[in-house]
């Protein structure tokens, strides 16, 4: 058949409509879609390739999300009803996803997967009597310190309790050049202050997460300790944006100690020269009396509420949590396995840099599990920064944090009153 120019034009004009036609075709529900983020998403296909699954098990599609957009994507996916069967969710987002009913609670049959795990991490996922996700890999923040600079000041490692710890920092600072500091606590990051607060045993929120508890004596003790580190010149008044290369500055000795997570081990190994490698180490956080606490982190695997009856969904979660899969996952990503038994097998328990993370995770405590927490803690740090810069005293800062938190939690209090909040 000869195509006339007119027919051709018509066909071309209709071309943009062809995807709409595709949408009319029946959607095959046979497959399982998994949303995963960053590094984990990149390694998941490799992990699934070698996995033994029953015959006739549905095909799995992994859809990677970038970490920076993952949170928005999960919420818009919920709003649009387009969440997949299962996914990776950052532990700090579980409360939010559970509150809006986006994820299904872990069925009792799958509770076996929680047995061999860090209690504090599992606790993070426990809300209103249910566990909402199975921890997949774990992390937390602890101290990275310069062994050589602490040795010069007469310490093999940073001491465990606050007063000793601060004395050590003073000695490190005294031995350093004039413009150098002992510790780096970036003013735009809330993790250092929450770590001190958890170490002091602060509960952070009260009344079922309906009000701020920043005026509690425990929190005020942590806040005063935090402030003193700046007032006594142990930490510089800088935000992380002002440190262009944290690894280089650490190597140069601008500061001898900072807080970070397990990902920094890889960064320091690749970015610092071989001569530096013996000169740094990791240690659990200090507390008011002995080793302190930290906020457990990492990601969990969840099954989204619309797909909770999918028989293969929990089966896949269980297969991703088998010791073999956890071991392979650790080899592929470097993530710390959620299962304790895998730590020994992977040689992590004997690794001088990684082992302190297990010690810290044993002493970790969960942050408040309310959807507003991220916002509350952001406001907390804004006030803390102003306090450190001299605008507030400790009591005044604590009152201001409570005031801001109470305002952000107003809706939650209303929900609690109506019995609608988790």
């Amino acid at each position: 058949m000869e195509l006339t120019r007119r027919q051709l034009t018509g066909a071309l004009a209709a071309l943009p409509l062809s995807p709409a036609l595709g949408a009319c075709a029946p959607r095959s529900d046979a497959g399982l879609t998994v949303w995963a983020m960053g590094n984990e998403a990149a390694s998941l296909p490799e992990l699934l390739k070698d996995m033994r699954r029953p015959a006739g098990a549905p095909r799995i599609t992994v859809q990677p999300l970038p970490w920076t957009a993952a949170h928005e994507k999960l919420l818009t996916g919920f709003a649009g009803g387009s969440l997949p069967a299962l996914g990776q969710v950052g532990n700090s987002w579980i409360a939010e996803m559970a509150a809006i009913g986006a994820i299904a609670p872990v069925p009792k049959a799958a509770y076996g997967l929680l047995g061999d795990q860090f209690a504090a991490v599992v606790e993070t996922n426990r809300i209103a009597g249910h566990v909402w996700g199975i921890p997949w890999y774990v992390d937390t923040r602890l101290q990275y310190y310069r062994r050589d600079l602490f040795a010069r000041a007469g310490y093999a490692a940073p001491p465990g309790n606050w007063s000793e710890w601060k004395r050590a920092l003073h000695k490190v600072k005294a031995a350093a050049r004039g413009a150098d500091y002992a510790a780096l606590l970036p003013l735009n990051e809330y993790e250092p202050l929450t770590t001190f607060a958890l170490s002091a045993g602060a509960r952070l929120l009260r009344d079922h997460g309906g009000r701020g508890a920043f005026s509690d004596p425990e929190f005020k003790a942590a806040l005063a300790f935090y402030k003193s580190l700046f007032d006594e010149g142990l930490a510089p008044l800088v935000s992380s944006a002002q440190i262009s290369n944290i690894w280089n500055e650490f190597a140069r000795g601008y500061f001898s100690l900072f807080l970070s997570g397990p990902w920094t081990i890889g960064d320091l190994k690749t970015r610092l020269g071989p001569a530096m490698q013996e000169k740094w180490g990791t240690a659990p956080n200090p507390g008011p009396a002995g080793v302190g606490s930290a906020a457990p982190g990492g990601s969990s695997l969840v099954v989204f509420a619309d797909h909770q009856d999918h028989p293969a969904a929990w089966d896949l979660v269980a297969r991703l949590l088998t010791p073999g899969a956890q071991l392979r996952f650790n080899a592929l990503t470097g993530d710390l396995p959620a299962r304790r038994s895998v730590w020994a097998e992977a040689g992590l328990a004997a690794d001088r840099l990684v082992a302190p993370f297990a010690a810290q995770l044993d002493r970790a405590s969960a942050l408040p599990k309310v959807p507003e927490w991220e916002r509350v803690v952001t406001e907390m740090q804004l006030v803390a920064e102003r306090m450190v810069r001299g605008d507030h005293g400790v009591d005044e800062a604590a009152r201001e944090m409570d005031r801001r938190a109470d305002r952000l939690l107003e809706k939650r209090r209303w929900m609690l009153e109506k019995g609608r909040a988790l």
Partner: protein
């Protein structure tokens, strides 16, 4: 003309304009009204889960915004973009348009394409290139500055340099669009007027001021209106280049709205920001129209 014919004509007019009006009503006026209503509610993730958790809060969203220092920071940043950016993005293309319009320039079509090309390339692709250009240690911009003995500037990492860096990028990117509009206007300027003025002894500047500028004044107004609106609505450039950082120095009002709405999921508050932004653009536009009327551009 008989009355019947007038009715017939009016009907034809409505029929012609109908589809466009319906589209405007459905896709513009209704959503705008809905977002105004939304701005009086506390729509958040709880309401997303169950619409029963939605409350009407009156003007609370607005009041909280006015108390929020980050909102004022975003407002100040946006105003800076408007005040510094608009002259930059209007005058430079005007100059370029006059250049590529002038007869003594050879290879004119080539110049036009070269100068228009940035506008039609993908934003994300060009932002990657610009991030290299602006890199502190091996960026071309700092290399050129080092040739005239200026110490390297941390363009995207320092709170003071990030705004000019984004402006530079925005200027380069939107330059071509304004230039094309000016070029079209310049080509309608009657050459007889220009020649007559020259015969009367008018110099280059005098001719520019008394012949060219009055002839393209309406276009100048249009371009500056569009540019002010675009500068107020700057979002994609800071989003891909700096994510609002460092220290919130590139958080524009639209970026702030995006964070309120889609990061914190406070759609009520986000809608209030949108409405305040609308009022701002409206106010600036009215002032510009007033100035133009007095100046005789309209």
């Amino acid at each position: 003309m008989t009355a019947w014919r007038r009715v017939e004509e009016a009907r034809a007019g409505w029929l012609m304009a109908g589809p466009a009006l319906a589209a405007i009503l459905l896709f513009f006026l209704l959503p705008a009204a809905a977002s105004l209503v939304l701005s009086f509610t506390d729509f958040d993730i709880y309401a997303l889960a169950d619409i029963g958790n939605l409350r009407f809060v009156g003007l609370q969203n607005y009041q909280r915004l006015l108390d929020n220092p980050l909102f004022w920071k975003a407002m100040t940043n946006s105003l800076l973009f408007v005040v510094i950016g608009t002259p930059f993005v209007v005058l430079l293309p005007l100059f370029a348009a006059m250049l590529v319009n002038s007869r003594w320039l050879s290879w004119r079509p080539l110049w036009r394409v070269a100068l228009f090309a940035p506008y039609v390339t993908t934003l994300v692709a060009t932002s990657v290139v610009w991030r290299y250009l602006l890199h502190t240690r091996y960026g071309l911009v700092n290399y050129l500055l080092s040739r005239i003995d200026i110490a390297p500037i941390d363009w995207l990492g320092s709170p003071t340099a990030s705004l000019p860096a984004i402006l530079l990028f925005v200027g380069w990117k939107t330059f071509g669009y304004n230039m094309i509009i000016f070029l079209a206007a310049l080509q309608t300027v009657p050459s007889e007027l220009d020649e007559a003025a020259r015969i009367d002894g008018a110099g280059r500047c005098t001719r520019l001021r008394h012949v060219t500028l009055p002839a393209i004044a309406p276009t100048l107004l249009l371009v500056s209106l569009l540019t002010v609106a675009a500068m107020f609505q700057l979002f994609a450039e800071p989003y891909v280049m700096t994510q609002g950082g460092p220290a919130g120095s590139t958080v524009t009002i639209l970026y702030f709205m995006y964070e309120e709405g889609f990061k914190w999921w406070n759609l009520g508050s986000g809608a209030a920001v949108a409405f305040l932004l609308f009022l701002c653009i409206l106010a600036v536009t009215l002032v510009q129209l007033g100035v133009a009327k007095r100046g005789g551009a309209l």
